[in-house]
C-alpha cells in the first residue's frame, strides 16, 4: 500500500517546520523519501498476483491500479526534481512544506482514484485529489492569474463534485449499493430485462451514470468540462501545471477505465445501455481532442498551448477508453487498456520535458510567451533542440514515443469495427491539426531572429540531465517500443469483479451494500 507512505510523508512534511523553521532541504528530503518508499511499495506489489481488495472492499488492488500508481508517484518525484532545478527560487522557503504536503496529498488522492471501486471511495479519492490541487493552482499568492485560475478551479470543481454526488445518489437510490461491480450487475440486469418490479428504468440509470461520468470528465478536462484547464495551467507555477497535466489526468483516465471495465464485465454482449455509454465516451473523447486542438492553434502562451495540447491528448486517451465499451471482446479491451497505459507513460515524459524547458526559459528570461523564444536556437541550442524533440513527440513524429503511442491507440481502435475506424479518422485529422501549433515554438526558436538581443540561456546541468532523460525515454519508446509495451500489456489487467460482492463486507459506514428495492419503501 503505497498510500500509507504518502500519508506518512504528508505528516512528516507538516511536522518538519517545528524542528527547523525555514529549512527547505528537510521537508524536501522527507517528501522525496516518502515518495521513494511509496514507489518501492508499488514496485513490490507490481509483481504480485492478479489482485485483491483493501479497506473493506472499497479499493481494488490489481496490476492496472499499481501501474497507474507507479506513474503517479514516479511523476510526483520527477515534478519535485523539476521544481528543485528550475523554479524553486520563486517559492518562499516557508512555503516549501505546504507545497510538498499538498503535492503528496494530491498524489495520494490520485493513487486512490486508480484503485477506487466503490462510489464512496471514488468520491473521497477525487476530492482528496482535488482539494490540494485547488490550493496548488493558486500557489503563486500574489499572482493575479494564478488566483483567478485557482478560484475558477474551486468553483468548477465544486460544481462538478456536486453533479457527481447527485449522480451517485441516484445510482445508490436505485441499486441500494455503493459497490461498483454490484451496481454494474444490477444495471446490466436492467438493460435487458423488464424492470417492472423496481420501477426504475434504464433511463434513470443512464442519467445517474451520465452525471458520474460528468464528474470524471471534469478531472479529465474533457469538453465541455474543460474551461478551468487553460486558466489553471497558466496561473499555476510550472511544476504544478506539469503535475496536473499528467498525474491528474492519468488518475482520471484510470478511473474512467475502471468504471467502463466494471460496467462491461457485468454487461451482456450488445447491451444497449453499455454500448450507449461507449458511444457517449467516444464522442466525448473525439470532441475533446478536436476542440483542444482547434483552440490550441491560437495560443501564444506556452502554458496555455500545452494546456490545450493536454486537453487533446486526454481526448485521445478517452477515445481509446471508449473501446472498452465498444469493443466486441475482452481481447480488444486489453489492447485498448495497454495502449492507454503506454500512452500515459510516453505522455508523462513528453509533457515533463516540454514543461521543464518552458520552466527553464521562464526562470531565466521571465517569459511564457512563445514569441519571445525568438532566436533560441542561437541563445541556447540544446534547449531549442530538446524542446523540438518534445513537441515533435507530442505531435507524433515517427521515431519518437508519441508516434508509437498513437500507433498503439490506432491498433486498438481498428479492432473495434466501423466505430473504431471513425475514431482513427478523428485521431489522424487531429494529429495533422496539432502539427500547426506544435511547430510554432520550434518556428520561433529556429526561424526568427532575436530582435531584442536577449541574453543566452544556460540551463543547469541537473535540468539538462532531466531533459536528456526525458528525450532518451522518448527515443527509447519510439524506436524500441517492445519493452515498454509488453510491460504495459502485462499490467493492463483489471481484477475481474465477478465475486466482488461476496468479498465485500455487508456494511460500509452503516450503508447497506445489499440491494434494497426502492419500491418496498413506497409500499
Amino acid at each position: 500500500m503505497p498510500e500509507i507512505w504518502l500519508v506518512l510523508g504528508m505528516c512528516a512534511v507538516i511536522l518538519v517546520p517545528f524542528l527547523k523553521r525555514t529549512s527547505v532541504a528537510l521537508p524536501t528530503g522527507a517528501a522525496l523519501a516518502a515518495l521513494f518508499f511509496a514507489l518501492a511499495a508499488t514496485t513490490y506489489t507490481l509483481v504480485g498476483d492478479s489482485g485483491g481488495t483493501a479497506v473493506l472492499g472499497t479499493l481494488t488492488i490489481d496490476p492496472f491500479s499499481q501501474f497507474v500508481k507507479l506513474i503517479v508517484i514516479l511523476f510526483a518525484i520527477l515534478v519535485i526534481a523539476q521544481w528543485i532545478i528550475t523554479t524553486r527560487g520563486q517559492t518562499a522557503a516557508g512555503d516549501t512544506p505546504d507545497f510538498l504536503c499538498l503535492l503528496l496529498g494530491a498524489a495520494l488522492g490520485m493513487s486512490l482514484m486508480s484503485s477506487a471501486s466503490n462510489l464512496l471511495m471514488i468520491f473521497v479519492a477525487m476530492e482528496s485529489a482535488s482539494y490540494p490541487s485547488y490550493a496548488l493552482a493558486g500557489f503563486r499568492k500574489r499572482h493575479r492569474i494564478g488566483t483567478e485560475g485557482s478560484l475558477k478551479y474551486v468553483v468548477f470543481g465544486s460544481a462538478a463534485s456536486a453533479i457527481m454526488v447527485y449522480g451517485m445518489s441516484l445510482v445508490y437510490g436505485m441499486t441500494g449499493t455503493l459497490n461498483l461491480s454490484d451496481i454494474a450487475s444490477q444495471i446490466a440486469g436492467l438493460s435487458h430485462t423488464s424492470s417492472a418490479v423496481t420501477g426504475t428504468t434504464p433511463a434513470l440509470a443512464a442519467i445517474g451514470l451520465l452525471l458520474i461520468f460528468a464528474g470524471v470528465a471534469f478531472k479529465l478536462s474533457a469538453v465541455p468540462m474543460h474551461f478551468w484547464c487553460p486558466d489553471v495551467f497558466q496561473g499555476a507555477p510550472f511544476e504544478v501545471t506539469t503535475f496536473l497535466s499528467v498525474a491528474s489526468k492519468g488518475a482520471a483516465v484510470a478511473l474512467l477505465v475502471r468504471l467502463l471495465f466494471t460496467l462491461g464485465a457485468a454487461s451482456p454482449v450488445n447491451s444497449g445501455l453499455f454500448t450507449g455509454v461507449g458511444v457517449g465516451v467516444a464522442i466525448l473523447g473525439a470532441a475533446t481532442a478536436t476542440w483542444g486542438n482547434l483552440v490550441a492553434l491560437h495560443q501564444t502562451n506556452i502554458k496555455r498551448l500545452l494546456a490545450y495540447s493536454s486537453i487533446s491528448h486526454a481526448g485521445y486517451m478517452i477515445m481509446a477508453c471508449s473501446l472498452i465499451a465498444l469493443a466486441p471482446n475482452t481481447a480488444t479491451a486489453h489492447t485498448a487498456i495497454t495502449a492507454v497505459l503506454f500512452y500515459l507513460v510516453v505522455y508523462m515524459f513528453m509533457n515533463l520535458g516540454a514543461f521543464t524547458v518552458g520552466a527553464a526559459i521562464a526562470a531565466q528570461q521571465n517569459t511564457e510567451d512563445i514569441r519571445e523564444y525568438a532566436g533560441m536556437s542561437k541563445r541556447s541550442p540544446i534547449l531549442a533542440a530538446l524542446m523540438t524533440v518534445f513537441l515533435l513527440s507530442l505531435f507524433g513524429m515517427p521515431g519518437l514515443g508519441g508516434f508509437m503511442g498513437k500507433v498503439f491507440l490506432m491498433q486498438a481502435m481498428s479492432d473495434a469495427g466501423p466505430a473504431g475506424f471513425v475514431l482513427i479518422a478523428v485521431l489522424l485529422i487531429n494529429t495533422l491539426l496539432s502539427l500547426a501549433y506544435y511547430v510554432k515554438p520550434a518556428y520561433y526558436m529556429y526561424f526568427t531572429a532575436d530582435k531584442e538581443s536577449r541574453p543566452t540561456i544556460f540551463p543547469s546541468p541537473a535540468a539538462l540531465l532531466m531533459l536528456f532523460v526525458c528525450a532518451a525515454a522518448l527515443f527509447w519508446t519510439g524506436l524500441l517500443a517492445n519493452k515498454a509495451n509488453s510491460f504495459a500489456g502485462a499490467h493492463a489487467v483489471l481484477m475481474q469483479p465477478a465475486n466482488a460482492a461476496a468479498a465485500a463486507p455487508t456494511l460500509i459506514n452503516g450503508l447497506p451494500t445489499v440491494a434494497v428495492p426502492i419500491v418496498d419503501r413506497h409500499d
Binding site: T338, S377, P381, L392, M397, P398, G399, F403, M404, V407, F408, M410, Q411, S414, I424, L428, T431, L432, L435, A436, V439, Y443, Y446, F447, T448, L480, A481, N482, N485, S486, G489
Partner: protein, 524 residues
C-alpha cells in the same frame, strides 16, 4: 554484405553526430569523409550485387523483430529497384557536401542535418517493411524542413512549413492505407506467425494478398481507395500537378546544395514508392485507373513546361522543369508496360543527374550575382566560357538531347504511351473498356506528351539565349572566377550525363531481373 547495407544507413548518422561536435572546417571534412565512406559502401554492394548475386531479386536481407506487438520488423535489403537510386543518393551526396563548402552559417549543424537526411533517404530506399519505410519517409522530412527553414532565402519559413505540411498530409494518407493493409493481410490465409499480421512488403505484394485486392475481390473497394491514397501521398512527393505548389517555393528558398538533393533524390522517393508500393500492391486498381494517372502525368508534363516558360526567376524555371520531367515518370508508370516502367525509372536516374547539375549551374551564377532574374543576366558565356560549356551540356541533358541522359527516359516513356494502346491489361478483364477506347486515350495522351518535348526545348533554349548569349554586362567585372571545386562538381555531373546518355545498360543491367518480377505482378 547485409551488415554493410545497414552500416550504409547508419554511417551518416554517426557522421552527423560527429559534425555536431566539431568546429566549422572539421565539420566539412567529417561530412565529406562520411559521404565518401557511404559511397564506397554502396559501390561495394553494387559490385557484389551485380557480379556475385547476378543482380537477381532482393538480396542482403536483414530481418529483426522490432515492435513485436504490431509485428513491425527492422527489415532491410536491396534489389534492382532500389540499388541505382541508392548509388544516385550516395554519389550525389558527395557532390552536395562539396557544393555546401561555402556555407558559413552554423556549418556543423548544416552538415549534421544533411547527413541525417542522407540516412533517412537511404533508409527509405532500403527498407522492406512498410512500418520502417514510413518511419524513414517521415524522418527524412525533418532535416529538410530545417535545412530550408534556417539556411534558405527570404521566404524560407513559408517554404519550409509548406513543404512539411504538404508531405505530411500525404504521409497521413499512406498511414491510413498501412493500417488497412495490416488488418486485411490476415484474411489472405498466409501461413505466417503472429496471426498473419505483417508489414513485410514482399509478403504484401505476394499473390494471396493481391487476390484480395483484385478487381471484384473481397477488398476491391479498399484497394481502389488505397491505390488513390498512396498515389496522393507519392504524387505530392513526386510532385505532380495539382500537388506541386510546394516545390517551386521550396526550391527558390532552399540553398543551392539543398535544391540539388531535393530535386536529385527526394523527388525520386515519390516515384520509387509508387513502384515499390502502389503498383505492386494494387495492380488491379492500377489497371482500372490507368487513364486518370496517365492524364495526371500528361498534365504535369505540359503544365510544368508552360509554367517554366513563364518564369523570370531562373531557379523557379528549373524547379518547374522538375515538375514537367516528373510527369514522364507518372505517365510511364500509368501505361503498365515494360517500356514505360523502364523509361520512368531511367527518367528518375537521368533527372537525378541533370536536375542536380542545373540547380548547381544556377547556384554558381547566383553566388556571384546575388540575383536570379533571367532578364537581368546575359552574356554569361563570354564571362565564363568554361562554365558556359558545362552549362550547355547540363541544360541540353535536361532538355533531353539524344546522347545525354535525359533523352533515354523521355523517349521510352513516350513510346510506352503509344504502346499502351495494345496493352490488354488496360482494356480490363471483363471488357469494361473497349480496345478502341484504350487506343484512343493512348494515342491522344502520347501525342500531347510528345508536344511537351517541344515545350521543354522551348523554355530551355529561350532561357539559354537570355542568360548565356549576348554581350557581357559591365557588372560582371567583379565576379570571382569559377574555382576548382565548382569545376569538379560540374565535371562529375556532366560526365554522368554523358555516360548515362550513352550506356543505359549500366542501369538496366542492375534493374532487369527485379523489373521482370515487378512486371509479372502487374500482369505484363
Amino acid at each position: 554484405m547485409a551488415s554493410l547495407l545497414n552500416w550504409m544507413i547508419f554511417v551518416p548518422c554517426i557522421g552527423a553526430v560527429l559534425c555536431l561536435f566539431s568546429p566549422k572546417q572539421a565539420a566539412k571534412s567529417v561530412a565529406l569523409l562520411t559521404a565518401l565512406v557511404t559511397l564506397l559502401l554502396s559501390v561495394i554492394i553494387a559490385v557484389d550485387y551485380y557480379t556475385v548475386q547476378g543482380a537477381s531479386g532482393v538480396q542482403y536481407v536483414t530481418a529483426v523483430s522490432w515492435i513485436s506487438s504490431i509485428n513491425a520488423e527492422y527489415r532491410t535489403g536491396v534489389d534492382g529497384l532500389s540499388l541505382p537510386l541508392v548509388l544516385l543518393t550516395t554519389s550525389l551526396s558527395v557532390l552536395v557536401v562539396l557544393a555546401s563548402w561555402n556555407i558559413e552559417k552554423a556549418t556543423g549543424a548544416f552538415m549534421a542535418l544533411y547527413l541525417f537526411l542522407m540516412s533517412g533517404m537511404l533508409g527509405v530506399f532500403l527498407s522492406l517493411d512498410m512500418f520502417l519505410f514510413y518511419v524513414f519517409f517521415e524522418i527524412s522530412l525533418l532535416p529538410m524542413y530545417f535545412l530550408i527553414g534556417i539556411w534558405g532565402g527570404p521566404r524560407k519559413e513559408y517554404a519550409a512549413i509548406k513543404f512539411f505540411l504538404y508531405t505530411l498530409a500525404g504521409s497521413i494518407c499512406l498511414l491510413i492505407v498501412m493500417l488497412g493493409l495490416y488488418f486485411i493481410t490476415p484474411k489472405a490465409g498466409l501461413n505466417l506467425p503472429n496471426a498473419g499480421n505483417t508489414w513485410d512488403m514482399m509478403v504484401l505484394q505476394s499473390l494471396p494478398v493481391r487476390m484480395l485486392f483484385a478487381n471484384g475481390g473481397e477488398y476491391w473497394g479498399f484497394a481502389q481507395a488505397a491505390f488513390w491514397l498512396t498515389m496522393i501521398a507519392f504524387l505530392i512527393k513526386l510532385p505532380a500537378v495539382p500537388f506541386h505548389t510546394w516545390l517551386p517555393d521550396a526550391h527558390v528558398e532552399a540553398p543551392t546544395p539543398i535544391s540539388m538533393i531535393l530535386a536529385g533524390v527526394l523527388l525520386k522517393m515519390g516515384g520509387y514508392a509508387m513502384m515499390r508500393i502502389t503498383y505492386p500492391f494494387f495492380p488491379a486498381a492500377a489497371q482500372e485507373f490507368w487513364v486518370y494517372v496517365a492524364v495526371l502525368g500528361v498534365i504535369a508534363i505540359i503544365y510544368g513546361a508552360l509554367c517554366a516558360m513563364a518564369q523570370t526567376d531562373w531557379k523557379k524555371l528549373v524547379a518547374y522543369s522538375s515538375v514537367s520531367h516528373m510527369g514522364y515518370v507518372t505517365l510511364g508508370l500509368a501505361t503498365l508496360t515494360r517500356v514505360g516502367f523502364d523509361g520512368a525509372y531511367y527518367q528518375m536516374i537521368g533527372h537525378g543527374i541533370t536536375s542536380a547539375l542545373m540547380f548547381f549551374l544556377v547556384g554558381v551564377v547566383y553566388e556571384r550575382a546575388h540575383h536570379r532574374e533571367i532578364n537581368r543576366l546575359g552574356g554569361i558565356w563570354l564571362k565564363f566560357p568554361g562554365y558556359g560549356g558545362w552549362s550547355l551540356l547540363g541544360f541540353f541533358a535536361g532538355m533531353g538531347l539524344p546522347g545525354l541522359c535525359g533523352f533515354i527516359g523521355e523517349i521510352m516513356v513516350l513510346l510506352s504511351a503509344f504502346q499502351a494502346a495494345g496493352n490488354v491489361n488496360l482494356i480490363g478483364a471483363a471488357g469494361a473498356r473497349s480496345a478502341a477506347d484504350v487506343q484512343c486515350w493512348s494515342y491522344t495522351l502520347g501525342v500531347i506528351a510528345a508536344a511537351g518535348v517541344v515545350l521543354t526545348a522551348g523554355y530551355i533554349l529561350w532561357m539559354f539565349q537570355r542568360v548565356y548569349m549576348g554581350v557581357e554586362k559591365p557588372e560582371y567585372s567583379h565576379y570571382a572566377p569559377i574555382n576548382a571545386r565548382e569545376y569538379v562538381i560540374m565535371t562529375a555531373l556532366g560526365l554522368g550525363a554523358v555516360v548515362f546518355g550513352i550506356l543505359p545498360y549500366l542501369v538496366f543491367d542492375l534493374t532487369t531481373p527485379t523489373f521482370n518480377s515487378l512486371l509479372s505482378i502487374l500482369g505484363s
